[in-house]
Subunit: 484 residues, 2 copies
């Protein structure tokens, strides 16, 4: 595609930002994988400096002028300008002092949160969290909003998301909670397979085999190891995922790999013509999560997946031989009360998110005090999941997000599950998944979602592909059908 | 140390350059180690863009003004201004068009050189090399020089180096050539140990053990694998080396590791107060090479080294058991005619460099035509080493340097060998090496050389530590004593 002259000029300047972002991604990846331990402070300085250079480029008056005056001539150009305006708004509205104060607070928060979690003592983290909530409320004021300050924060992570939309999305929590309570009676507390150990090299071989079948292209992508699995993309030709090998309960490593593969496939399937432009990236965090959850839960925890990879699983872990495909499917899809969000099965997962949404909203409103968090957390866990955390480490202190000052982020996880189910039905992927036609599934996702990058806002993209915005009914239907 | 106000302001601005360079180093390291193959083109674009951002920062009128007007108040501040002026001169004198033309030519040269070397046909590379020589002559004119255009090119790689100084350094080539011809009769053509295979994991263990004893600190450094061994530093707390495992002839992997360790130790021992300043780096390429050669040749190929690590070598390669320490010392120090520079023993190595120096100088003078290179190369190899290359791949086409347009670089290798020997005698390291007191050797090098970074010009630093500029007599003495 040939861009118009004014867009071309913007894209030439944008190359500086793109290149810095590319380097920042590599610096992050390296930090989580291979960086020598003593380098972390210096690395933080470098990243902070390069972020500042990015901000300086976005807020350069000439650049802003070009973006403001651009006349986009087609959908791609409109997307480019839309995304750039979002960034310019973000970088120009928030004062440098607030960013610096947030950085200082987050640095302290990380230490406090770590200590609080280790000692299971919320009071250690409480004062810093109070500061963070206050900073986020100020941030919302700087960014601006129509109805509710939480809207401003939600929009940072999911373009166009509002409290109202969240409320509709989370309206199904009651139904999910009922389903969950009914289902949990069906499964044992632990499955024997969880205890089976594995050899790390064989496990890695299994993961490489599965990912290769699903379409992970190692000429453009890598698989490494890190303490917490993640996906990062530098350019269109360099996308990296990581997993962690715990030595037993092989589903965790395998599902994490398939989850990260879902993120990676999205970035790798973006159209070449969007390369090195502001729209070369997934449409939103929610959309990104929809892809990882699609591959992890809808594909990875399907009978077809277990059938397809039963032999390779036995190759990697010979002790599995006494279990048949149905045993492994049960192990993959067990529903049981879980205190920790990241360990939760796909049925209860949105309940964990719903709880965080509820508490964030009330903290931002000022209706809920930070000091009240542990009590209300435990009470709501009992209502939603049916268990009370025995301590704060297994409760309110489990997630790092608030210590990172990313209030407004959690809802994107639930949106991911919802969008995944919506695509499953509306793009007619259900039969293909059931028949194990995973390559066809990928082809549809690539054509309908991936290749567009962030040309369309997440809301527009979802309406284009499914005819409506996030509708939680599809997720309910998916759970009811799968666990009927 | 507290810097003066004007230097402080410069250093704050310099942080942007330092951070970009840090990222560029990681991008390079990653390219040689872990980058997915299809990413190389995109990676090249990113690096080119960030290099341009570095250049833009160096040539910013405000920054130049600050540097020009700075009043350094001590040696460190003088060093900072000296180094910055060098870079500013480089970036402001060479026109953008020349850099772009050089980049295009080098991209083509790399392809042509690769093809020419594969087919052993110099004529394929000849036209591009002619273009490169012409560009380097133009570059010399832009940079300026007093006596000879080659001086301008030499100075890029070794501050203050001139043709005249090179001629003094290379004046010992005749003596080295005679020594070499006498020595080569003493050794067999191949040593049995060269054929002994090794297990890569055990070899890696041996290298880790040796480097750890020498002082390689893995909390600030890494060891990886790459097609060509190299060292790269990001910051003071992140220095990385690579080696290559060929599966036999274990001396090659081990000596490459010790060589790169020499480079790495230099960067890791630079004083903390120079961190993130323009003088946080080795004094010059020649000085850097002096450290790697010191550790590789003077330490690594010493009887004390063989004695110290005889047991670990046998642990790693049990087949070595039938060889005693003297056998291994002979294998480590064999002198025999070698066509390929990078395979050459320490006696003949400077002869290979001397040949390249002679040809470069004459090409830049215009006295030698590119088309005459193969013939004169072969003739001089016969005179210096006593063998004629059977083809151009094993002769004039073996090195990548000219295809990279880095004419003037080779002499730094010979300077490295010379400086290493000079430090060996003048810093009274000879006894410590012979007694295997490697930690004491490192302590002296750290105090006298490393910690100063590039505060002093290489010439000043050498004079400060040894009382004179490069004097090749020390190297002759070292060879004569070792091989007497």
């Amino acid at each position: 595609m040939e861009f118009s002259a004014d867009i071309k000029e913007i894209l030439i300047r944008y190359r500086d930002i793109w290149s810095l972002r590319y380097a920042l991604s590599l610096l992050s990846w390296d930090m989580e994988t291979y960086m020598p331990p003593l380098a972390s402070e210096e690395r933080g300085e470098v990243r902070g400096n390069l972020e500042t250079q990015v901000q300086r480029l976005y807020t350069h008056p000439e650049f802003i002028g070009l973006v403001e005056n651009a006349k986009p001539r087609n959908e791609i150009e409109e997307g480019i300008i839309r995304v750039l305006k979002r960034w310019i708004k973000y970088y120009t509205r928030i004062p440098k002092e607030l960013i610096e104060e947030e950085e200082r607070t987050v640095a302290k928060a990380f230490q406090d949160w770590k200590e609080a979690r280790a000692k299971s003592d919320f009071s250690i983290f409480m004062p810093t969290l109070e500061k963070i909530v206050e900073l986020q409320r100020r941030k919302a004021d700087y960014l601006g909003y129509e109805d509710h300050p939480y809207d401003a924060l939600l929009d940072i992570y999911e373009e166009g998301l509002t409290l109202k939309k969240c409320e509709r999305i989370f309206s199904v929590l009651k139904d999910i909670s009922s389903l969950f309570k009914k289902l949990k009676e069906r499964y044992p507390e632990r499955h024997e397979i969880e205890e089976i150990g594995y050899d790390e090299r064989m496990m890695r071989r299994l993961i490489e085999h599965v990912l290769s079948h699903l379409g992970f292209d190692t000429s453009r992508a890598r698989l490494d190891t890190s303490p917490h699995p993640f996906t990062i993309h530098m350019g269109l030709y360099d996308v990296r995922i990581t997993v962690r090998y715990e030595g037993k309960d092989f589903r965790r490593a395998l599902m994490a790999a398939v989850h990260e593969f879902g993120h990676a496939s999205y970035e790798m399937n973006i159209s070449e013509e969007l390369r090195a432009t502001p729209v070369q990236s997934g449409a939103s965090l929610g959309f990104h999560e929809s892809q990882s959850r699609f591959w992890e839960n809808i594909v990875g925890r399907s009978r077809a997946f277990v059938r397809r990879f039963y032999d390779p699983m036995l190759m990697a872990i010979p002790e599995l031989r006494k279990y048949d495909e149905e045993d492994i499917y049960t192990y993959f899809t067990m529903v049981k009360p879980e205190l920790i969000r990241v360990e939760a099965d796909e049925v209860q997962y949105p309940l964990h998110i719903g709880l965080r949404f509820e508490l964030e909203r009330r903290m931002i409103e000022g209706d809920l005090k930070v000091e009240e968090l542990p009590e209300i957390w435990n009470q709501r866990m009992e209502e939603l999941i049916g268990i009370t955390p025995p301590n704060d480490s297994l409760g309110v202190l489990q997630d790092i997000h608030w210590a990172h000052a990313t209030i407004g982020y959690f809802p994107t996880y639930a949106i991911g599950s919802m969008i995944a189910a919506q695509l499953y039905y509306k793009l007619e992927l259900a039969d293909r998944v059931k028949e194990g036609k995973f390559k066809e599934v990928m082809e549809v996702l690539r054509e309908r979602i991936h290749k567009h990058g962030s040309v369309y806002s997440p809301e527009d993209l979802l309406k284009r592909t499914t005819g409506e915005y996030v509708n939680p009914e599809y997720f309910l239907r998916y759970l009811n059908e799968k666990y009927s």
